[in-house]
């Protein structure tokens, strides 16, 4: 069961999540400072470190762009074009900030002007 929170209102579950995320920040950034002993990192763990972050980001962001209300986004969805423009910009110029700006420059006119 999920608890749908009311937008703009403070609720305890969100506060709990924020505290949990703070602990995630501390544990991940101090991971090898926690124990004084030298913990050996198993090879499979070291190898999965190469893939897990990109997997998590892709698993988050691709549905964010390609799915609307449980259905595949239709062709007239402004997010598709914004994301496409942003990604193309990234591979030409290698700038994350540029990705955001170009993506928004494509997304906003389509979204606000055409209502996509």
């Amino acid at each position: 069961m999920s608890i749908i929170s009311v937008p703009g209102q403070t609720d305890w579950l969100t506060i709990l999540i924020i505290i949990g995320l703070t602990l995630v920040t501390i544990v991940s950034r101090s991971f090898f400072f926690i124990s004084r002993r030298n913990l050996p990192m198993p090879t499979w763990f070291q190898r999965s470190l190469k893939y897990a972050p990109v997997a998590a980001l892709a698993a988050l962001v691709i549905p964010e762009i390609a799915v609307t209300q449980g259905e595949l986004a239709s062709w007239n969805d402004a997010r598709l074009y914004g994301a496409l423009a942003g990604a193309l910009w990234y591979f030409r110029r290698r700038s994350v900030m540029g990705t955001i700006l170009v993506g928004m420059a494509v997304y906003l006119p389509l979204h606000l002007g055409l209502g996509w």
Binding site: T10, T14, S28, R29, Y51, V54, A58, Y90, I100
Partner: protein, 274 residues
């Protein structure tokens, strides 16, 4: 496979040369100020990133208080942006935390490298040192101080103070920018869709990680599975997508790509890279 050296042979801590993390004595150290000033070169870039994160947080439906609390406590841009759609969708707490931890795994790698700079400090100070570590600080620090001074309390104290100065500047800059974004966006209507900037930011960070064919494969698998399994409850499509894509890539490394991966790792070890 740990690259860390034994910490048992460390020189004991010299309280005069190595004051506690963030104590007034440390802040007075010239190295702290040098680290703080070194941060200026990237301050503007991080500030615009923070501004955008603030706008995305405000637009996602977090209350003003929640957005401010998240800014000053969580202090991790990509993880914050990643968590937002999950919070809005009402995903279970553990799914949100697992996703954030995966996004933060790069810090686990950094902490293994930074270990030799801090193991002479007590637990609480080590945690503070780690908590403040951002990606940019790690990069700047390892350029300025590539070798940990494990046996020289003078230099060791300077290194820690430099790093804490650099990360403290990042913390202040981040919070100010983020809070400005939160306040700015709370005056604008959410129907404008400015929160999409957060999605684009995560997309950009993901694109920046696509530096090998295997990582491109991971992203395609994870994205595809997450879309196909979208109907799963509790945002479990995310967990399934991460496990499947990482699992398939590891399986490939241990079977078809075995020779190739072993050669690559041996080459990296020779070059002294972690």
């Amino acid at each position: 496979m740990s690259t860390a050296v034994s910490t048992s042979g460390l020189a004991p801590r010299d309280r005069a040369l190595e004051p506690p993390v963030l104590s007034p004595a440390m802040i007075r150290q010239p190295a702290f100020r040098e680290g703080w000033r070194n941060y200026y070169q990237i301050a503007l870039g991080i500030a615009s990133w923070g501004l955008m994160t603030g706008v995305a947080m405000s637009n996602s439906g977090l209350s003003l208080f929640e957005a401010m609390l998240m800014t000053v406590l969580v202090f991790a841009g990509t993880a914050q942006l990643a968590a937002l759609p999950l919070i809005v969708a009402g995903a279970p707490v553990w799914v949100i935390l697992v996703a954030a931890f995966c996004v933060n795994l790069r810090f686990v790698v950094f902490s293994e490298h930074l270990r030799n700079y801090v193991m002479h400090l007590p637990f609480r100070e080590r945690m503070m040192f780690g908590y403040l570590s951002g990606d940019v600080n790690y990069v700047l620090f390892t350029q300025r101080h590539p070798h940990p001074a494990t046996h020289d309390p003078q230099l060791r104290g300077e290194q820690v103070a430099w790093y804490v100065g650099n990360t403290a500047a990042n913390y202040v800059n981040w919070c100010v920018a983020c809070l400005t974004g939160v306040l700015l966006a709370s005056t604008l209507p959410t129907s404008w869709g400015l929160g999409f900037a957060g999605t684009l930011a995560v997309l950009g960070v993901m694109c920046a990680m696509l530096d090998s064919r295997m990582r491109i494969l991971t992203a395609i698998l994870a994205g595809g599975v997450a879309v196909m399994a979208y109907a799963l409850p509790l945002k479990l499509n995310l967990v399934v997508a991460i496990l499947l894509s990482v699992g398939i890539c590891l399986l490939l490394e241990y079977t078809v790509l075995r020779r190739h991966v072993e050669e690559q790792e041996a080459r990296q070890r020779r070059q002294g890279r972690p």
